[in-house]
Each structure stands twice: as C-alpha cells, then as structure tokens.
C-alpha cells in the first residue's frame, strides 16, 4: 500500500544508463550476495530432503534390513509387495478411508462455508469456533475421541447394535470412527479455504440473478459453485493427499487394530521399517506409495480442472 507513494516522487526514474556506476554493474552480473543467499540453504535442503528420497529409492532395490550387510535384489521387493496381503489390505483401507473422508470433509465444509458467508448473527464468533480444530494436535484430540468412542458412546447409544460395543474394536466399523476424527479436524482448514473463495464472488452477481428470478439453489449451482471451483479443486486434492498419508489419527484411535484392519500405509511403512527390520522392503513400499499419491493427485487435477473449464 505504501509503496506507490514512496516510488512516485523519485527523480531517477529515467533510463538505466544515467544511473551511477554501482547500479549499472548490477544490471549485467548477478551480485555474489544472491548466490550466498541461495546456495547454502539449497545445499542443506538437498542434503536433508533430496538425498533421503534418493537413498529411499536406492535401498528399495536391495534387501537391507536397516542394519548389517545387504545386496541388490532388483525389482524383487516391488513384486513381493503386490503379493503381500498386509500391504494390499493397507492400500484398501487407506484408499477407502481417504475417499470417504475427502468427500465428507468437502461437502460439510462447503455447506458450512456458504452458511458462514450468509447474513448470520455472530458471524466472526462462529468463524473463530470452526477454526479451533486447526490449532489442536490430531494425536491429542484423537485420544479424547478414543475415550469417547470406547466409554461414552456405548452408554449413550446402547440401543444401536454397532455402537453398543466399543466401535474401535469392531474390525468392520472401526474405520468410521477414524473418518469422524479426520473430518472433524480437517474441516477447519477446508472451511477457511472455501470462505476465502466465497469472498471473491461479487455480491452484484447474486442481486442480478435474483432480479432475473433465480432461486437460491439455482444461484448456488450457477454462480457460487462455478466461481469457487478452483478452491474446490485445491481442497479436494489437498484433503485426499493428506488423508492418504494419515498416521496420527490411527495411532490415537486404534493403533492399526483390531488386528491390522485399520493399518494405513504410512503406519505400515513406519512399523515395518523401524520395528520389523524391513527397511528396504518398506522403502519399496514408500516409493510405490509416492508414485500412487502423485498419480492420484495429478489425475484429480486433470479431471477437476476440466470441469472448471466447462463453466
């Protein structure tokens, strides 16, 4: 805001050639300082981010247990992954959970964001409340939910078959409790993102369409949704990517149980890699998982953005 005021009265706002020599030297060569600003930081970045990625890819082609000697096994780990029931089950659980949680998160947060954006009382108070879960640790909230599912819910809804017993110990339904925690927590950020999108829509559009006799439903379908479709895309991609990597939720609620029925891929990589002596095998799993995540995100972008272009 202040910048135009500062720049306008400058008399030197003339061709570059008329400037003192110090500036002219700058035009040609990059000052060495710029390299000093970038090179050390990027070196550390490469060392702590890129090198680990490469190490992971490298060891995925070996039989390294995390200690001792190792040898190359080619694509052996990857072939074994596809025949491993535990791995396939983890993928099945993770994707099922992530898809359900993504849909629920986006439907609920979009609805809440539209409501928050309407003329309601105590607007900023409500907005403040909805954002609370964002600043809370998933692990700790998860422990609260865990106690609630294990001890409170069976007493409150003692008539409902699945909830009568601790749902977290039910192999078929424990995942729904994890979805509940995940959606409760991640709606906070999604609501804020949708709200940011909704606030970019000019009010005149609604007024003009109301004059032409559009119903609120039609307004949502023809104005609101098209106008925030970019935010919808981002939210869908970010939520799915986040849920696919879920870890804290599961540690807090079920620790992967009962059995391995709620074991996510990240939890499997963690357990096998650190406690199971499967460093190389789980590295291969991680490589596969990363490829899957990137592929899914890419596809999602393509599909959703094509929809965006339609409007």
């Amino acid at each position: 805001m202040a910048t135009p005021v500062l720049t306008r009265p400058r008399p030197e706002h003339t061709p570059r050639a008329s400037r003192p020599s110090t500036t002219r030297r700058r035009v040609g060569a990059t000052p060495r300082a710029f390299y000093w600003m970038v090179v050390p930081a990027v070196t550390v970045f490469a060392l702590l981010h890129t090198v680990p990625v490469l190490i992971g890819v490298f060891f995925s082609f070996t039989n390294y247990a995390g200690f001792g000697s190792w040898s190359f096994v080619g694509f052996g780990n990857f072939i074994a992954l596809f025949q491993d029931d535990r791995v396939l089950k983890a993928y099945g659980f993770t994707f099922g959970f992530a898809i359900v949680a993504t849909i629920l998160t986006n439907v609920i947060s979009l609805a809440v964001a539209v409501g928050l954006n309407a003329k309601i009382a105590f607007q900023s108070t409500f907005r403040g409340i909805f954002f609370i879960p964002y600043v809370l640790a998933i692990l700790v909230v998860g422990y609260v939910f865990q106690y609630f599912f294990a001890n409170s819910l069976p007493r409150i809804l003692s008539g409902v078959p699945v909830l009568r017993d601790n749902i977290l110990t039910n192999p078929d339904w424990a995942w729904t409790a994890i979805v509940a925690l995940a959606v409760w927590q991640s709606c906070a950020f999604a609501i804020i993102l949708y709200l940011a999108g909704l606030q970019t829509i000019p009010q005149e559009l609604y007024e003009a369409s109301a004059i032409d006799g559009a119903t609120p439903r039609r307004q949502f379908r023809s104005i609101t949704f098209p106008m925030i479709s970019a935010f919808f895309t981002i939210n869908m991609v970010l939520s799915l990517k986040g849920f696919l990597q879920t870890f804290d939720h599961i540690i807090a609620l079920t620790a992967g149980g009962p059995g391995t029925s709620t074991e996510s891929i990240t939890l499997l990589i963690f357990r096998g890699g650190f406690q199971g002596g499967e460093f190389a095998y789980q590295s291969a799993n991680a490589v596969l998982f990363v490829i899957v995540i990137m592929l899914v995100s890419f596809l999602q972008f393509r599909v959703l953005q094509r929809k965006e272009a339609d409007f």
């Binding site: 981010h49 190490i55 600043v135 998933i138 700790v140 422990y143 409170s152 006799g213 990240t266």
Partner: protein, 301 residues
C-alpha cells in the same frame, strides 16, 4: 483508464428495469436482515466442534469414581489434583520447554532463511540458475513424507541431528518449498525501484534485504510464521522418528509415551491432554482474527 472502466458500471443500475418488484424488495431485505435459519444451522455445526472440547474439560476435572455414565455429566466437584498428577507423570515442564524451544526455533529459522532464499530467487527469476533452483524447490512440494521418513532417520542419526536442533532444521528445510512459493509470489509484487534507490545510495544486497525487503514482507512473515508454528507445535510423526533421547521429548510425543502409564486414570490423562492443547489454544483465542486472516492469505497465494 480507471474512469473509462468504472463509468458503465456506475450507470447500469439506474438503467436496469427490474422484472419483478418483489425480487428487488427481497434483495434490499437480504442486504440487511439476518438469516436466522442459517444462523441456527451454523450454531448446531459449531456445537459439534465444541462438544469434544467440553468433554475433555469436564473429564479432566472429575475424580476417577465420577467417570461412569455417559461422560457428559458435569462433575460435582472440581478435582484439580488431576493436573498436578499429569504435570509430574508426563514431566510436563520438560516437554513444554522442548516443544516451545523447537517451535520458536523453527519459526525464527524459517522466517529468516526461507524469505532470504525467496528474495534471491524472486529478483533473479529470469536467470537460468535461479529459475532452476525455484522449480527444483517447487517440485519437492509433491513429494510426500513417507518416502523421506526411513532414510532421514538414518541421516539425522549419522549427523548427530537426532535432537531438538535437528528438528528445528528439518522444519525449516521441509517447509522451504511451500514457503518459497508463498514468498516469491509476494516479493514479485514489490516494486523493484525501492531497491534500486537503495543500491544507488550504496547499500549492499544484504542490507537491502534486511532493511527494505524483510520489513515489507511482514504480512507474509505472519502467514509463514503461523503455519510453521502450528505445524511444529502439533507435529507428532517427525519427533517420534527423529528424537532419540527421552529428555528431548515434545509435548505430543510425551502424550503418546505416557499413554500406557495412565492405565485407568483417565482424568489425569485428560488433564495432560488439556495442558498440551492449552498454550496454542490460548494464543489462538486472543489472536483469532489475525491467525485466520494469516492462514487465508497463504491459501490464496
């Protein structure tokens, strides 16, 4: 230019003939009247956000023998002893110090280094080297954490970084991609004439960064600072895999480690959860608007 664009828009409303007089009335009413139906629905939703918090607070205040029932009953007397038990059992002061140190360290290091890298990149994007670095960093946004998890533990152990300092470094490094993206977009909107004037007066590149650019980055610094702070404070998986010394445990990690030791003493466990949540929650309550607008700013690039 601006006048030409504005003129038709200003005239239009008076020309337009409303087709439905009721619609006009509805619009005028909508502009001022509060929508109580929406308010009620939103209130119900907000209630579900608050229920777990209410649940946590009342459970933390009960004695173990009050725990029966649905869990939603108010305690008949406040049992503050739970907090004392949790305080000693989880070694709360030590864990709080560790988390605070790591969070503050991560925020400060991130703000200083990431904005510096972004400044150098933003002002030299037309040069192949800096453009290459920019895209190299951006591509890392798409690499999920699980693949880094196993090797980075080996590496931090090897370099002696399996402690608080290592974590601070990791937060600054892992956040670099996204933060550079946020900063560069903002720095490009700062007029370069400001810097050129400073160079003419003989300032060095470092001084220009520190005295002109860094202060102008304040809104983005707030955004990046909030995102980093919430991440570092609440993170569980990175401390879990990186830290090796029990004395270095963070708040979240100590909740996990001592989970088994609470046995059936759920009240003390809940007191401990509350104490782990409280610091950030209190900051949030007082700086609510600021936090939300900061996060919003980051999300719209």
């Amino acid at each position: 230019m601006a006048i030409i664009i504005d003129a038709p828009a200003a005239v239009e409303p008076s020309i337009r003939v409303p087709r439905d007089p009721r619609a006009v009335r509805r619009i005028n009413a909508n502009r001022t009247r509060i929508n109580w139906w929406a308010t009620a629905l939103i209130a119900v939703c907000a209630f579900t956000v608050l229920v777990p918090l209410y649940f946590a607070v009342i459970t933390a205040l009960k004695t173990p023998d009050q725990l029966g029932g649905t869990g939603f009953e108010l305690p008949n007397s406040f049992h503050w002893q739970n907090f004392v038990d949790a305080w000693t059992l989880t070694r709360f002061p030590q864990a709080l110090m560790n988390t605070a140190l790591i969070t503050v360290g991560a925020v400060v290091l991130t703000l200083l280094t990431n904005s510096l890298v972004a400044y150098a990149i933003a002002r030299n994007l037309h040069k192949p080297f800096f453009k290459g670095v920019y895209f190299y960093l951006l591509s890392a946004i798409f690499i999920p954490f699980p693949i880094i998890m196993l090797p980075v533990v080996k590496e931090t152990a090897l370099f002696g970084l399996d402690n608080q300092v290592g974590l601070i470094l990791l937060y600054a490094v892992f956040g670099l991609s996204l933060n550079v993206f946020i900063y560069v977009a903002f720095i490009k909107s700062i007029p370069i004439e400001l810097e050129e004037a400073a160079y003419t007066d003989g300032a060095t590149t470092w001084r220009v960064y520190w005295q002109i650019i860094f202060p102008l980055l304040t809104p983005m610094n707030a955004t990046v600072g909030i995102l980093t702070c919430v991440w570092a404070w609440n993170d569980f998986i990175l401390p879990l895999v990186v830290l090796s010394d029990p004395a270095a445990r963070t708040l979240q990690l100590s909740q996990f480690v001592f989970q088994g030791q609470f046995n059936t003493n759920y009240s003390a466990a809940f007191a401990s959860y509350l104490m782990a949540m409280a610091p950030l929650l209190i900051v949030y309550i007082f700086a609510q608007r600021w936090v939300i607008s900061g996060v919003m700013r980051g999300s719209i690039k």
